[in-house]
C-alpha cells in the first residue's frame, strides 16, 4: 500500500469523495461525475496521492456493482421481470449483436488487426457500464421511466452476455500463450464435462430461487428476533457475499446471481430492511469504484497519443449512440425516452477492463492495442454523466417533454398513498379500517414476531425502522400523501416525525402520542393531527360507566363528545402557555400541575350537561300561565 497503509488510503479516498461529490452535485453534474473527478485528482497523474493500486481497489469496489444489482432486483417483482423479457432479449440482444458487428467491421477497416482481435474488441466495446448508468439514472429518478427501464433491460442482457463472451475469447487467440491460470476463468467446475457444468449452473440458479423463496425469510426472522440491528446487517451482507462466491465458483456473473436473489426477495417482508442495510455499503463501494475508475485513467498514454485516444472515444460514443437511437426507434420508444436510453448507454463498461485483461492473457490482443482502448473506455465512462447532463439540458428540451408527465404518473402507481409506521394493536386497527374502506396502505413494523403473525393473517407488513429516511423512501414516502405514525415508543415516534418532515416536506403526518410531553412535542412540530393513545378508549370506558349507572346512552354520548372537545381545546391552551414559560422543566410536578388545572377547570366551568335545547324549564315559566288560561277558557265553553 501507498504510504501508511489502510487508514491513509481510506482517508484519501473518503476526503476526495466528501470534497468532490457535493461540489459536483451543486453544479448539477451528479455524484458519479463527482467521484470520477475525485479519482482523477487523487490519482497518479494529478496529485498522486494514490498510485497504481487503484486497479486493485477497482477490483474490490466492483463488489458495489454486485450490491447495486441486488438492490435493483429487490425493487423488481418477478412478474415485472417476466414482463420485461421482450426488451431484455430483443433490445439487449440486438444492441450487443449489432454493436459488436459494426465495431468489429470498423476496426477491421481502420486498422490492420486480425479479425479475431477485432471481434474481441467489438464484443467488449458493445458492453456498457451498469454501474454508471444505473447510478446516474437512479439519482435522477429516471430508472422507472420507459427509457430507464429499457436501458436497464439492455444492461441486464449484457451482464448475461459476458458469460459466453468469456467463453469465446480463448478461442480467438492469435498467438500461443502459456496458460498460467488467469483467475477469472478459474472455477471449481471448469474441469468437469460441459453437460455437468451446465447442470451445476442450473442447479445453482434454481437453488438460489428456492432458498430465497423458502429459507431466507425464516432465517431473517430468527435474526431479526435477536433485536440486534448489526446482526441483521451482517446477515444481509453475508447473503450478498455468499451468492457472489457461489456464482464465481460456477463461473457466472456475481451481479447476475445477486440480482436474481434480489428479485426472489422482492416479495419478502424484509425487502425494505434489506434495502436499507445494503444501500450504504453499495453507495460507498460504488463511490470507491468510480474513484478507482477516475484514478486509473492513464493520462501518460493520453498525452502521448491525444489524437488517437480522442478518435477512439469519439468513435465509440458516436457509433453506440447512433445504434442505440436506431434500435430504440425500432422498439417504438418516444423521442425523449429514446434519447435518455441512447445517451445513457453510449459508453464502454467496467466489463471492458476485465475482458481486455482476459483477452491479453489469452493472447487475443496486444498490450499496445489494449491500453489505448482501456483508456478510451475509462474516458467514455467518465463522459457519460456529462453526456446525460448535456442531453437533459440542451437536447431533451427540443423534443416533446409532455411524455415526462405520463412517466411520472406510472411511478406513483406502484406505491400506496398512505404509510402506516407501526403495525401493532394500534396501527393494525387503522390499517384494517382503511382496508375495509378500500384504501391500501404500506405497513411498516419493527417487531419481527408481529410482522410474521400479521403476514400469516394476510397483511403485507414490512419489517423495518420507519425513523430511517431511506426506509421511508423505500416505502414510497416521496410519493405518498399521508404518514400515520402508530408506534408505541414516544422517542421513536418523534424521530419519525423529524425524519419525515426533514426529508419529505410534502408528506402529511398524523401521529399517536404516548404521553403528555410526547404530545406537546408533536404539537410543536405542527403535524396534521396528534392522538393521545389511550384518551378515546378511556373516555369510552368512562361513558360506559355512566351507562351502567343508568344514564341514557344518548346523553352519555353527548357528554363524551363535549368532554373530548373541551379537553382538546384545553390541552391546546396548555401547550401554548408551556411555550411562554421559557424555563419550562420537564418534571412530573409540571404534569400533575397541568392535570390539576384541567380538573379544577372542569369543576368550575363546563363539561356539565346543559343541553338547553331540550330543557323546558324556561319555556314552562313563560308559557304555563298562557296555557292555563286557554285551558280554563275552553273548560267554560
Amino acid at each position: 500500500m501507498h504510504e501508511g497503509g489502510f487508514f491513509y488510503q481510506a482517508f484519501v479516498y473518503l476526503s476526495a469523495a466528501v470534497v468532490a461529490v457535493p461540489i459536483a452535485k451543486r453544479l448539477g453534474l451528479g455524484s458519479v461525475l463527482g467521484y470520477l473527478i475525485a479519482g482523477v485528482l487523487i490519482g497518479p497523474f494529478v496529485f498522486g496521492f494514490i498510485g497504481e493500486e487503484g486497479q486493485d481497489v477497482m477490483h474490490f469496489a466492483e463488489f458495489g456493482v454486485v450490491m447495486m444489482l441486488f438492490l435493483v432486483g429487490l425493487e423488481l417483482q418477478p412478474s415485472l421481470l417476466w414482463k420485461m423479457r421482450a426488451p431484455i432479449l430483443g433490445l439487449g440482444g440486438l444492441q450487443v449483436l449489432v454493436t459488436a458487428i459494426i465495431i468489429t467491421v470498423i476496426v477491421l477497416i481502420v486498422s490492420s488487426l486480425a479479425w479475431q482481435t477485432a471481434l474481441a474488441i467489438g464484443l467488449t466495446l458493445a458492453l456498457s457500464s451498469t454501474a454508471i448508468v444505473l447510478q446516474t439514472l437512479n439519482e435522477k429518478g429516471l430508472l422507472k421511466s420507459e427509457g430507464g427501464q429499457n436501458a436497464f433491460s439492455v444492461l441486464l442482457f449484457q451482464d448475461i452476455a459476458v458469460i459466453p463472451i468469456l467463453a469465446i475469447l480463448p478461442l480467438l487467440a492469435v498467438k500461443e500463450v502459456h496458460h498460467t491460470g488467469g483467475h477469472e476463468s478459474h472455477t471449481l467446475i471448469e474441469n468437469l464435462p460441459i453437460i455437468w457444468q451446465t447442470l451445476i449452473v442450473f442447479g445453482v440458479i434454481v437453488s438460489i430461487i428456492v432458498a430465497g423463496r423458502y429459507l431466507i425469510s425464516p432465517a431473517f426472522r430468527l435474526i431479526a428476533q435477536t433485536g440486534l440491528r448489526e446482526l441483521f446487517t451482517a446477515a444481509a451482507l453475508l447473503l450478498v457475499i455468499g451468492i457472489t462466491l457461489l456464482m464465481t465458483q460456477v463461473g457466472l456473473s456475481p451481479a447476475l446471481g445477486t440480482f436474481l436473489a434480489g428479485v426472489v426477495l422482492a416479495q419478502s417482508e424484509y425487502r425494505h430492511e434489506l434495502e436499507t442495510d445494503i444501500e450504504p455499503f453499495k453507495g460507498l463501494l460504488l463511490g470507491l469504484f468510480f474513484i478507482a475508475v477516475g484514478a486509473s485513467i492513464d493520462f501518460q498514454l493520453i498525452i502521448q497519443n491525444p489524437g488517437l485516444i480522442a478518435m477512439i472515444v469519439l468513435g465509440l460514443v458516436v457509433i453506440k449512440l447512433i445504434i442505440l437511437i436506431v434500435i430504440g426507434r425500432l422498439f417504438g420508444m418516444k423521442m425523449d425516452n429514446n434519447l435518455l436510453f441512447a445517451f445513457g448507454l453510449a459508453q464502454g463498461g467496467e466489463f471492458a477492463f476485465v475482458l481486455f485483461s482476459y483477452a491479453l492473457q489469452n493472447g487475443v490482443i496486444e498490450n499496445n492495442t489494449a491500453n489505448p482502448l482501456i483508456a478510451a473506455v475509462a474516458i467514455s465512462m467518465a463522459l457519460t454523466p456529462l453526456l446525460m447532463v448535456l442531453n437533459e439540458k440542451l437536447i431533451q428540451p427540443y423534443f416533446g417533454t409532455k411524455e415526462v408527465s405520463d412517466r411520472e404518473a406510472d411511478v406513483i402507481d406502484e406505491k400506496n398513498q398512505v404509510i402506516i409506521a407501526g403495525f401493532g394493536r394500534y396501527g393494525s386497527t387503522i390499517g384494517r379500517f382503511l382496508q375495509a374502506n378500500g384504501t391500501q396502505a404500506t405497513y411498516l413494523d419493527i417487531n419481527p414476531n408481529n410482522v410474521d403473525l400479521l403476514r400469516k393473517l394476510g397483511f403485507k407488513v414490512f419489517y423495518g425502522d420507519a425513523s430511517r429516511h431511506d426506509l421511508l423512501h423505500a416505502a414510497g414516502a416521496a410519493e405518498a400523501k399521508l404518514l400515520i405514525i402508530a408506534v408505541d415508543d414516544p422517542d421513536k415516534a418523534f424521530e419519525i416525525v423529524e425524519t419525515a418532515q426533514k426529508h419529505f416536506p410534502n408528506l402529511e403526518i398524523i401521529s399517536r402520542s404516548i404521553n403528555w410531553y410526547n404530545h406537546y412535542d408533536m404539537m410543536d412540530r405542527n403535524i396534521q393531527g396528534v392522538y393521545r393513545e389511550f384518551f378515546d378508549s378511556a373516555l369510552r370506558m368512562a361513558a360506559d360507566a355512566l351507562s351502567f349507572l343508568g344514564y341514557r346512552s344518548y346523553q352519555v354520548q353527548r357528554a363524551l363528545k363535549k368532554f373530548r372537545r373541551y379537553d382538546e381545546k384545553y390541552l391546546f391552551k396548555l401547550a401554548e402557555s408551556r411555550h411562554e414559560r421559557k424555563t419550562f422543566i420537564k418534571t412530573g410536578r409540571q404534569f400533575i400541575e397541568d392535570l390539576e388545572k384541567m380538573i379544577l377547570d372542569d369543576i368550575e366551568n363546563e363539561a356539565k350537561d346543559k343541553d338547553l335545547g331540550w330543557d323546558t324549564t324556561t319555556i314552562i315559566e313563560e308559557f304555563a300561565p298562557f296555557v292555563r288560561k286557554l285551558k280554563e277558557e275552553s273548560a267554560k265553553e
Partner: protein, 198 residues
C-alpha cells in the same frame, strides 16, 4: 296484530310526560317498545335490523315530544335511512303495505293553540301532513295522531288518564278489536274510545 312503538326522546332523563306514558308499555303483550336514542346514541341506525322489526309488526307508532312541529332528529334520520326505495316505497316497495301508522305525541300547547288564527296558526293534523304523506307513499294506513296537549301546565292525574286511553287503544289494536275505517275519520285518535262508547 303486533304493535311497534318507535320512541324518540333525546332528553328522556328530563321527561315528565313521556316518562309516564311509556312506563309499563313494554309489558303489554304484543307491543315492542323501541327506544331509538338509547339504541343509537351515535345515530348509527342499523337499517337491516329496523326493516326486520317493521316486517314483524302490523302497526307502527312514532312516539315522541313534538319538537318544532316535527319529530326529534333521530326519527328523521330513521325515516331517511330505513324507508328505502324498493323496500318501503316504489313499484317494488311493498314491505309496509297495509300496516297501520300513527304518531303519539306530547306537546306543550293546548289544543286551542293549534288552530288557524291561534298561537300556532295550524292544526296538529296540518303540521303532521309530511308524516301522513310519508305513510301513504309507503302504502300504509295513516291514522289520526294520539296527542297529549298542554304539557306545559298539566296535572299528573291528567297524564295518567291519557296513558290509560293510550294503552286501551293499543290493546284494542293488538286484539284486532280496532276499527281503522272508523278511526281514520277522527281528528284525534284520543276520541276513538268516546266514539266507541256512543
Amino acid at each position: 296484530m303486533k304493535v311497534l312503538v318507535l320512541f324518540a326522546h333525546p332528553a328522556f332523563h328530563k321527561s315528565r310526560i313521556n316518562k309516564i306514558l311509556v312506563d309499563g308499555i313494554s309489558h303489554i303483550e304484543g307491543v315492542t317498545f323501541h327506544d331509538l336514542y338509547e339504541h343509537y346514541p351515535e345515530f348509527d341506525i342499523d337499517i337491516q335490523k329496523e326493516q326486520d322489526l317493521l316486517s314483524k309488526h302490523d302497526c307502527v307508532i312514532f312516539q315522541h315530544p313534538f319538537f318544532w312541529y316535527s319529530t326529534p332528529a333521530i326519527l328523521k334520520e330513521w325515516q331517511d335511512l330505513v324507508l328505502e326505495h324498493g323496500w318501503a316505497f316504489g313499484s317494488q316497495g311493498n314491505a309496509l303495505k297495509g300496516k297501520l301508522f300513527f304518531c303519539a305525541l306530547t306537546t306543550g300547547g293546548p289544543q286551542q293553540a293549534y288552530q288557524i288564527g291561534s298561537f300556532h296558526n295550524h292544526t296538529i293534523n296540518q303540521l303532521l301532513s309530511p308524516l301522513r304523506q310519508t305513510a301513504i307513499l309507503c302504502k300504509m294506513v295513516p291514522l289520526p295522531p294520539f296527542v297529549v296537549h298542554g304539557t306545559h301546565a298539566i296535572e299528573p292525574d291528567e297524564v295518567l288518564d291519557h296513558k290509560n286511553d293510550y294503552f286501551k287503544i293499543l290493546k284494542l289494536i293488538i286484539n284486532n278489536e280496532f276499527d281503522s275505517e272508523k278511526a281514520v275519520k277522527l281528528n284525534y285518535l284520543n276520541d276513538y274510545l268516546k266514539m266507541e262508547e256512543k
